[in-house]
Amino acid sequence: MAECPVCAADIQLPDDTVAGELIECPDCGTELEVTSVNPFKLAEAPSEEEDWGE
């Protein structure tokens, strides 16, 4: 179990999860990187910024 760093959702991770794996938070949809497996830790995966005319 790990906590989403964006929305604090509890995320169940399989036992064979490895560091560096990318997953998606089921609540907020953020792409997350597994930064540690013992204990499980997650961080936002880097993504390209979108420009909506700003």
Partner: protein, 349 residues
């Protein structure tokens, strides 16, 4: 289990049509009669062409109504309160989809509707029809007043913040964008196609009557809250999008807001939190909700202030009217709340 016999009074309007559509496919319901004074003797699909071949029901006059287990009232404003005793003679259970019994205070009713209520003695007897707020009362209720569409869209995202006393109760600003079906099925100069098409029309900058419901349902302290509500009609047939600006008493992080919504709505079948950082549908959008009973809620905390922007959307004829009334009906009869309401919407649309 024998079927529950219901009748729909005032079934030729958009809300009535939507309700008939849902009831026809509800496994526990038999529609006994549908009334419309302007369509007496005509097939229901004459007014609601989407129901062709779905039913051979014909419209009756209200004078021909027989007794039934429950009456759904889909009448114009004022008609339900005027004729309520006649309806009580036909059914002890009533779900009224008009605004007649939404407010529980006679003075407030007069303030907002500008006339005296004909049956103020009944105002406290109707349960206000948002299941997420009044589910327990609905389980034993015989009278339910279904909530307004704009009020529903606004109350649901705001409720956790007001219930937990997290916001400045005087500063909430709400702007709703609404589709043309909110105006009903009677045409007018304003709905004439060349006038209505492409419109972004500020039709009620202040004084919208649904404000009264919002104030009633979100006032938890000794004093009434103040809200600042505006409505704009846009070029859309179905749907409501509400953008509400609240100001927090104390700072909350976005994670805290996620937790707050989970606390209140995690087990709610028709509320979804929609907030993503990428993609086309980052926040609620009414078109994805057409025909569904969902209320989608999104939010964004302003990094530079204590403002939180809440974005919420529904289909006004579903969660804002017929769908929510059927949800209340299911609760009233101890049925699975989702029965007849599980359509997930369409994409693309």
């Amino acid at each position: 289990m024998s079927k529950i016999e219901v009748s729909v009074v005032g079934g030729s309007g958009y809300t009535g049509g939507e309700l008939i559509r849902l009831l026809l496919f509800h496994p526990n319901v038999k529609i006994k009669q549908v009334t419309s004074e302007s369509y007496v003797g005509k097939f229901v699909h004459k007014a609601h062409p989407n129901l062709r071949k779905a039913s051979d029901l014909k419209f009756s006059s209200v004078n021909e109504l027989g007794k039934c287990d429950l009456l759904f009232l889909c009448l114009p404003h004022g008609s339900a309160q005027k004729n309520i005793d006649n309806f009580f003679n036909l059914s002890e259970r009533i779900i009224d989809l008009s605004a007649d019994f939404r407010l529980n205070n006679e003075t407030e009713y007069k303030n907002w509707y500008k006339h005296n209520h004909i049956r103020p003695d009944l105002l406290k007897k109707f349960v206000y029809g948002i299941p997420e707020l009044h589910r327990e009362e609905m389980k034993t209720a015989k009278l339910i007043s279904s909530a307004g569409c704009n009020a529903t869209t606004t109350i649901l995202p705001l409720y956790p913040f007001y219930k937990n006393d997290l916001v400045d109760i005087d500063r909430t600003i709400i702007e709703v964008k609404v589709g043309s079906s909110e105006g009903g099925n009677k045409s007018s100069d304003a709905s004439h196609h060349p006038e209505r098409a492409g419109a972004v029309r500020s039709y009620q900058p202040t004084g919208h009557r649904h404000s009264a419901e919002i104030i009633q349902e979100l006032s938890f302290g000794s004093e009434q809250i103040k809200i600042h509500f505006s409505a704009t009609s846009i070029d859309m047939v179905r749907g409501v999008l509400a953008t509400s600006h609240i100001f927090l008493k104390e700072n909350l992080e976005e994670k805290d807001i996620w937790k707050l919504y989970r606390q209140f709505y995690n087990d709610e079948p028709f509320i979804r939190i929609v907030k993503e950082n990428e993609g086309n549908y980052r926040y609620p959008e009414p078109k994805l909700l057409i025909g569904t009973n969902y209320c989608d809620i999104g939010f964004k905390k302003d990094d530079n202030s204590n403002r939180v922007v809440l974005i919420s959307a529904i289909d006004n004829l579903m969660k804002g009217a017929a769908g929510q009334a059927l949800q209340a009906f299911n609760i009233m009869y101890g049925l699975d709340e989702k029965t007849g309401l599980e359509f997930p919407g369409l994409h693309p649309i």
